[in-house]
Amino acid sequence: MRLVIALSVAAVLAVFLLYTSIAGGGNPSLAPSELAGRTGTVQLAGIVVGPVRGDAYAGGLRFGMKDIGSKSTTTVAVRYTGSVPDLFKVGRHIVVDGQLRKGTFVAEPGSMITKCPSKYAPKKSGDPA
């Protein structure tokens, strides 16, 4: 009796998980150097590279992004509109959703997340301050 209930619920759960992770799945998370040639919506994680220009509420904020912690110097141009988190600035780790259009990564409005300050990851000498 108990086993039957447990197994049936476990089965339902397994189906749910498989369904959402395969069909309704999330977006791939990529570093800027992996972005070339990608179509479709992805999550881009990287370091903000200056100069930062433009207006997030008029025409879009423009900046570059490069890989975190790798030697690659590939920089992707990003256009972003919508709410800009407090911690956004050059050198900061950020994550944005969007897709590559004609060489520019066009972010979805309001999708930017900055690395949360509560992580306190040890600062490396190589990291820009």
């Binding site: 009796m1 108990r2 209930i5 447990a6 619920v9 759960l13 749910f16 998980l17 959402t20 992770s21 309704g24 799945g25 999330g26 977006n27 791939p28 998370s29 990529l30 570093a31 999550q43 994680a45 207006d55 997030a56 509420y57 890989d67 975190i68 912690g69 790798s70 709410s83 800009v84 988190p85 407090d86 911690l87 600035k89 780790h93 994550v95 690395k115 949360c116 300050p117 509560s118 992580k119 306190y120 990851a121 040890p122 600062k123 490396k124």
Partner: protein
């Protein structure tokens, strides 16, 4: 001074290794005096850890920047209370706090219980010592808080958003919760190892588990409130892996607190309970790992942290060893009773457990999915908000309903007829609430409407339970209604404290449903003198002011708020620019309506040179019920936790007459 700290940690490592080895040997061959010495080593490990902690506190207070840790997390200008909070502001300090609480809890739990549960404690000590050895080793060899350097002139300072009273209480409460879950784990494994598989380990750890669970719950709500008021993006929970890190062990512990009652009353679910304890403790370790390793927030920075692999290895060892020990004892853990019907209190508790666990595992899956998909498909895939929201509804809503059914349905077997009488009024009140809300327009969100209907059901059952119990007490001769009510609670704290916690969960559900399913948002760029509308609020942007303070430039936009024709005064929203840290922070304006629990939430997203401001305004109905729920949750937890000698004596007496489950 750093030498003293390092030496103290080495002593802790030595003592806990001794307690582990000597304790296990003594328990195995049955040497009482050696076992006693292992217990004392555990107590001494607490003392030496306290010395190490004292050294770090002193270094923080003296701004001794020759400690790398102090220089990295504080600065001279930092106020004293935040200098102290830097103790848990960094990785090494928070690991030291873990070890301090762990050895403290271990020493206390062992001292309190060694008189009446001697043979159990024999094996509990080495389990505690094993966990302490791991943390002491990491602190000595991998992440020492006492690393030194040539002292710089000033420290790097603390991120402005952490310079906040919430950060004084939120992290330590979470650590109390994480570490507190070690106590039931150590006693469960100790019971398995010793072969004393009666209910004593449950009696010994019930309050510890409750305490850890309450601390985790309150700690998380404080964190949510901090995010809501200070971080200023307009929400309180973002399904961030670090937030989930605390939620998962809390859900596992919640399941355990419920299934334990089934073991106490009916002798069932013994294996299940031990599995839940192992899961809760592993998730607490995993939570510490998530918050401290930086592995999740950027999947590409796994190597950034030196402790990550050690933690993963330890978690693997804990899970594998505990399951192996459990497997060896399986034959002794057979239940004397069986589930008789799918409609009974036992079954309701079982469904509750399965749903809590399903929710917990769904969240775990979401947290580890990016890492798994990177490992197996070569590409990290992140599951977003919609994934978590889906499972919160799919599993959370039935859980809410069960919260009303579980406490009232009959043990063993309930007839359909008895169900009709028991749940007549709750059902009527739920349907009536649903109908009224539908007429009022709550049909815009079906999950929200379902949540409200279920909430009405549960609240009715709780009120009925209190009313019935109070009436019975009055009939038994209580002098007044108030006297009857208080004696009802004091005579059965577990039950009625539990109901109070249930009421808190209902308030929480109403607050979450109101603020997420029925909220509204408006964006507008306003020049001075212009106004915007949201719902029946009108906001007039009146002026922009700039002010210099000691460490920041504060810019504030002042808005005049009207609701309908009524003037509600002014509200300020703006930004602080911190000079030293070179950071900007949003300072949101919130107007709470005390009567309806609704918030008007204003963010000044962007302040332009010409004085115009890009505003984002939310109206969040009922959101204040979430914070009220926190207070009620705390009250309920305190009621259940309050020391009750009579109950403890009764439980001990029952356990000593060979753990026969009292059937009812």
């Amino acid at each position: 001074m750093p030498e003293l700290g390092r030496a103290a940690l080495l002593v802790t490592l030595g003592l806990s290794t001794y307690a582990l080895v000597a304790g296990a040997y003594a328990a195995h061959v049955g040497r009482r005096r050696l076992a006693r010495s292992a217990q004392n080593a555990l107590l001494a490990a607490f003392a030496s850890t306290a010395v190490a902690a004292g050294v770090l506190v002193a270094a923080l207070l003296r701004n001794d920047f020759s400690f790398e840790y102090v220089a990295r997390t504080t600065s001279r200008a930092l106020p004293t209370e935040y200098t102290l909070s830097a103790f848990w502001g960094g990785q090494e300090g928070s690991l030291l706090l873990w070890l301090l609480i762990l050895t403290g809890f271990g020493a206390a739990a062992v001292s309190v219980n060694r008189a009446w549960a001697k043979d159990l404690i024999l094996w509990v000590v080495p389990v505690f010592a094993a966990v302490a050895t791991f943390f002491a080793f990491v602190l000595v060899a991998v992440a020492s808080p006492f690393a030194t350097q040539a002292a710089p002139a000033d420290g790097a300072g603390m991120t402005p958003s952490l310079q906040n009273p919430y950060m004084l209480a939120h992290p330590p409460l979470l650590y109390l919760g994480y570490v507190g879950l070690t106590v039931p784990f150590a006693f469960a494994i100790g019971a398995l190892l010793s072969g004393k598989l009666d209910e004593r380990w449950l009696i010994a750890t019930r309050r510890w588990t409750l305490f850890a669970w309450a601390a985790l719950g309150v700690g998380q709500l404080l964190g949510s409130h901090w995010a809501y008021v200070e971080v200023g993006w307009g929400g309180y929970y973002a399904w961030d892996p670090v937030e989930n890190a605390a939620l998962m062990p809390w859900l596992a512990a919640t399941a355990f607190l419920h299934s334990v009652m089934i073991q106490e009353k009916r002798g069932m679910l013994k294996v299940w309970n031990i599995l839940l304890v192992i899961l809760a403790f592993s998730l607490a370790l995993f939570g510490t790992f998530l918050t401290r390793s930086g592995v999740v927030n950027s999947i590409h920075s796994f190597t950034q942290s030196s402790i990550g692999p050690w933690f993963l290895g330890f978690i693997a060892v804990v899970v594998a060893t505990s399951l192996a020990i459990l497997f060896c004892r399986l034959p002794q853990l057979r239940s004397p009773t069986k589930l008789e019907s799918a409609i009974s209190r036992e079954a309701a508790f079982l469904y509750n457990n399965l749903l809590l666990l399903a929710l917990c595992l769904a969240i775990l899956w979401g947290v580890v999915y990016p890492m798994l998909s990177e490992a197996f498909r070569g590409e990290a895939v992140v599951l977003g908000r919609s994934y978590y929201d889906f499972f919160l509804r799919a599993f959370g809503l039935p859980l809410l309903l069960l919260m009303g059914i579980g406490p009232l349905i009959a043990w063993r077997r309930a007839s359909l007829k008895s169900l009709l009488t028991t749940f007549r009024w709750p059902t009527i009140s739920a349907l009536a609430t649903g109908a009224v809300l539908l007429v009022l327009g709550a049909g815009s969100s079906i999950p929200g409407l379902v949540a409200y209907t279920f909430s009405a059901f549960v609240l009715t059952t709780i009120v009925m339970e209190f009313a019935r119990g109070t009436r019975a007490r009055k009939a038994l001769g209580a002098p007044s209604w108030l006297g009857a009510f208080t004696s009802l609670i004091t005579r059965n704290r577990r039950r009625y404290g539990g109901y109070v916690v249930h009421a808190a969960v209902v308030l929480f559900a109403i607050g979450v449903a109101g603020s997420s399913a029925f909220d509204s948002v408006a964006d507008a760029k306003l020049a001075q003198g212009e106004s915007m509308r949201i719902g029946d609020y009108t906001l007039l942007y009146r002026s922009l002011d700039e002010r210099e303070t000691a460490n920041a430039t504060e810019i504030r936009a002042t808005l005049a708020v009207q609701r309908g024709d009524r003037d509600l005064g002014t509200l300020q929203a703006g930004k602080n620019a911190y000079t030293v840290e070179q950071q900007v922070s949003n300072e949101v304006g919130i107007r709470s309506d005390r009567l309806t629990g609704e918030d008007l939430f204003v963010i000044a997203e962007q302040i332009n040179r010409d004085g115009s401001v890009q505003f984002r305004v939310f109206v969040k109905p009922l959101v204040n019920l979430i914070w009220l729920a926190g207070l009620v949750f705390l009250l309920g937890s305190v009621i259940t936790l309050w020391p009750d000698r009579r109950e403890q004596r009764r439980l001990v007496a029952r356990a000593s007459t060979v753990g026969l489950p009292a059937t009812r």
